[in-house]
């Protein structure tokens, strides 16, 4: 897993903030709440790869499906960190903050039709028992759901899940345009229940990632709820009902959230029998806002997992706890970038954009920001291994090669105004701030004067980024589960389909064509080729979002925590297969 611990409280942390990444794919981008919550979700999952006391130099990329430690034993409560309190339990609103709730509750109390792990890219059926595309264009899909019930809470009172609940849930999310779920609305023509168990989904046009974790398979906005509560904001303010493996037991005003095992959780998954899952009796989110306090709590055994802020911190902890813990490293799916806005005519000249990219020294950035623990990023971040260009790819080599002299020549040829000072806005997250400082120094080598402008994260996100109110900005993207969003960020506006402008107000016919060709290619192998080609086009055109790198994350768990799913994207955050090998811990509740 590439994620570790929640940081809506991202303020004031550097590496930890950087690692507070989105556990599931999220349309639209980061929010305060999201960043916060992710941390706690990821802590709960990222237990490392079992190389206790070892000294991993590179991400292990080990894939564990949860069965690696043998048969799970029932009992016990997993304790994970919650770094920020949830403002409410309502996943629909208000505003940008529901992302935090969505991330926390989407992996726990809500069930989904399916999930698409990143390692295989193949849909794993959850509540759905059969999915059939009934036309060649992939525009109509029939989904059949199995027998399952909601949690035994009023007003649902443990009743059976109907196809109409599924359709109504999707529709409810698709109405939440302000939260950033518009893509579901844009691509999906309709979703209807044809009988109690059958759902018909129609699309406006083919989209390869329509059912992946970025869209209709999102852990956040494909959550299934009883129809009765979908419009009941008062109820959802403090409670939630789903059919997930945990039910919401209690919370202290959004903090110290406690989930307990749903005894009637469905027993089927992807054609198999999952009777007994989840193995644990529940999960306690322990409210710890301070990073040092979180580390202390882990050292003292007050929480079972921890995301380290650096490799050094992990090594220090190993020195303290030895074989009592298992640690591991993994390449993050989130990634840093520099973005230029085309509303500033300075960046209209392709030569200027190429020069800016040539001035970025990605190796140096990794060294300065991540202590060397990271990998360079192309338009698709390095964690998405199936879509990576070979490192000797001619276009990629040129894109990644920093060359100050070449950059200066390009700037001179473009008549670049060296006297002007250019504003580079960034949020007050320490990771973003550090990236800004590094970029300022690197661009200065080419004579580009940068004035750094730091903004509060909420302001930066809601106004600067979302209102495209910047000339230059740099930030950390969230951790997307598939390559849909990383690629779609380059896609320009289209008034004929209502597709909005991207953050950079950038649109290039060649780039648009290449991205759309990839996104609408339904054949897996052919799509991989088209994604690679789209990246080449993006790099050749110097599209104004220059990804720099992804970091390597370090995480640890107590050795008695077994059965963690790793290397499969956010699948492990569901925590169904985790169990305790320690009898005493299994008895604690």
């Amino acid at each position: 897993m590439s994620n570790d611990g929640l940081d809506l409280r991202y303020w004031g942390r550097q590496r930890v903030t950087r690692r507070r990444v989105l556990s599931g794919a999220v349309a639209g981008g980061a929010t305060l709440g999201a960043i916060a919550l992710v941390g706690c979700s990821s802590d709960s999952d990222d237990g490392g790869n079992g190389n206790g006391g070892s000294d991993p130099e590179v991400p292990t990329r080990t894939v564990n499906d949860g069965t690696q430690d043998g048969a799970g034993q029932p009992g016990g409560i997993l304790r994970v960190r919650q770094a920020a309190a949830l403002p409410s339990m309502n996943v629909f609103g208000p505003g940008i903050f529901p992302l935090a709730q969505g991330l926390t509750l989407g992996f726990t109390i809500f069930d989904h039709l399916w999930y698409v792990p990143t390692d295989t890219g193949v849909t794993e059926l959850f509540l759905a028992t059969n999915v059939e595309q009934v036309d060649d264009q992939g525009l109509e899909t029939i989904v059949t759901i199995g027998d399952a019930t909601f949690h035994d809470k009023a007003p649902a009172n443990g009743r059976r899940i109907l196809a109409s609940d599924v359709a109504a849930s999707y529709m409810r999310f698709s109405q939440e345009v302000p939260i950033g779920y518009s893509w579901l609305q844009d691509v999906m023509e309709s979703i209807t229940a044809t009988d109690d168990k059958t759902i018909n989904i129609k699309q406006k046009f083919p989209w390869a990632w329509m059912f992946t974790s970025s869209n209709a398979g999102s852990p956040i906005f494909s959550s299934i709820m009883p129809e009765e509560i979908l419009q009941d904001a008062d109820f959802m303010q403090s409670d939630g009902i789903g059919s997930g493996h945990w039910f919401l037991d209690s919370h202290d005003n959004g903090a110290n959230v406690k989930f307990r095992k749903f005894q009637n959780f469905r027993t089927f998954q992807n054609g198999g029998d999952i009777t007994g899952q989840p193995y644990m009796d529940g999960v306690d989110f322990v409210f710890i806002t301070d990073d040092n306090a979180a580390l202390a709590a882990f050292l003292a055994g007050e929480i079972d997992t921890h995301g380290f802020s650096s490799k050094k911190q992990m090594d220090d902890t190993i020195a303290q706890l030895g074989d009592d813990i298992a640690t591991g490293s993994d390449l993050a799916r989130d990634y840093m970038n520099l973005m230029l806005n085309m509303k500033d005519p300075t960046w209209a000249d392709e030569r200027v954009r190429k020069a800016i990219n040539k001035l970025i020294d990605r190796d140096e950035a990794i060294l300065l920001i991540e202590d060397g623990d990271g990998l360079k990023a192309a338009p698709i971040p390095p964690a998405h291994t199936r879509y990576l260009l070979p490192e000797d790819d001619e276009v990629l080599v040129d894109y990644w090669t920093s060359n100050v002299e070449e950059a200066k020549a390009l700037l001179d040829a473009a008549g670049f105004d060296y006297d002007k000072e250019y504003e580079l806005k960034h949020s007050n997250r320490v990771g973003d701030s550090t990236l800004g400082q590094v970029l300022q120094q690197q661009l200065a080598r080419g004579g580009v004067k940068i004035k750094l402008v730091q903004e509060d994260l909420v302001r930066w996100f809601t106004q600067t980024l979302n209102q495209h109110d910047f000339s230059m900005t740099c930030f950390q993207h969230l951790a997307y589960e598939d390559v849909d969003l990383p690629l779609r960020f380059y896609l320009g506006a289209d008034t004929s389909t209502g597709r909005p402008a991207n953050f950079m107000d950038y649109s290039d016919d060649d780039v648009n064509a290449a991205v759309l060709a990839a996104a609408q290619e339904l054949d897996e192998e052919a799509r991989v080729v088209k994604v690679l080609e789209a990246q080449r086009v993006i790099m050749r055109k110097a599209a104004p979002m220059f990804n720099t790198h992804s970091a390597i994350n370090f995480a640890g768990r107590y050795e008695y925590v077994k059965g963690a799913i790793t290397g499969r994207g956010s699948l492990g955050l569901f925590n169904r297969t985790t169990w305790f090998s320690d009898e005493q811990r299994r008895q604690q509740s």
Binding site: G95, D290, A293, A300
Partner: protein, 316 residues
């Protein structure tokens, strides 16, 4: 004295009115996005934002907004948080106890240590105990509280694998042991940090008093040293010390923000911190007015205590 107290109390609403008006206006004229835009989120249409502004009353003239807010406040309706729509009154009641406990424990510890070591330092002027106490005072007042709090967490964790209780505040009446484990160490740190200034002031004031004629007379009369020190000297040195205690209370009040943040305590300080970052105007303006109320009341208590400490003080 009663008339003096009443006259001071008359000023209380006037001061609160001034503070609330300034805060209310300042929060609304600050540049940046309106709360409605933030709440509405990306992709919200101007109509949606306008509807939200109307719902929140943000499209009314600023003085109308202020009038409504003050009227509600006087009726005991403190409003709701912008983002969560939780009742501010309920939140305040929930968050007040931990903050109050931190402030009071820190104040008591700081006062006892500050006055105690100040007296010791004065008695042993220019001798070893005096040097030790003065060095300690300079050292503790030089180290930032957040650093001390971080050490409080990190050092026991690495040395003994001990952690402060996690998961937030536990009331004393529910679990005294856990409550003290959580609250006492930071209260000591805040108290020590706040005591440094008080200690130096006590020392200086005591030295001055100890050299006065009536102390010499008391000693010559053969009174016990304890009586001379505490009944005569310390009481006469009390007026500036009490003033300093009042100031320390306000400082500790601010310090609780850091403590609550570091120790994950959902108190008033943490509430203020997040509300400020999220531009939750209703919460921020309520807490600023509450803080002003506390400061004014604290100053009144300090002023009134002068008459008790020094009978020569008359409130005419």
């Amino acid at each position: 004295m009663l008339r003096y107290a009443l006259r001071r109390l008359i000023w209380l609403p006037i001061i609160l009115f001034g503070v609330s008006a300034v805060v209310f206006v300042m929060l609304r004229v600050l540049p940046g996005q309106s709360p409605a835009e933030i709440i509405a989120g990306q992709g919200a249409t101007p109509e949606q934002i306008e509807a939200l502004e109307e719902q929140l009353g943000l499209n009314e003239p600023i003085w109308d907004q202020y009038r409504v807010w003050v009227t509600d406040l006087l009726r005991g309706d403190f409003g709701e948080e912008f983002y969560s729509q939780k009742s501010i009154k309920d939140e305040f009641i929930r968050r007040f106890p931990p903050s109050f406990q931190i402030v009071m424990m820190s104040l008591v510890i700081g006062t006892v240590l500050g006055i105690g070591f100040g007296v010791i330092s004065a008695i042993f002027r220019n001798r070893s105990p005096d040097y030790v106490v003065r060095f300690g005072a300079v050292a503790f007042s030089s180290i930032p509280e957040f650093f001390m709090l971080t050490l409080l967490i990190v050092v026991p964790a690495y040395l003994w694998q001990y952690s402060q209780p996690v998961g937030g505040y536990v009331p004393f009446y529910e679990d005294p042991w856990t409550n003290m484990r959580l609250m006492l160490p930071p209260a000591i740190i805040l108290g020590i940090a706040g005591s440094a200034g008080l200690m130096r002031l006590t020392r200086t004031t005591m030295l001055e008093v100890l050299q006065s004629d009536y102390v010499r007379t008391a000693k010559a009369k053969g009174l016990r040293q304890q009586t001379v020190l505490f009944s005569h000297a310390l009481r006469n040195a009390g007026t500036p010390i009490v003033t300093a205690v009042g100031t320390a209370f306000i400082a500790v009040f601010g310090g609780s923000i850091i403590v609550e943040q570091v120790l994950s305590i959902q108190g008033l300080g943490q509430w203020f911190f997040f509300a400020s970052l999220q531009r939750d105007l209703t919460v921020v303006q309520f807490l600023v007015v509450y803080s002003a109320f506390v400061v004014v009341v604290m100053n009144l208590i300090v002023d009134l205590s002068y008459g008790y400490i020094d009978p020569r003080v008359r409130y005419s």
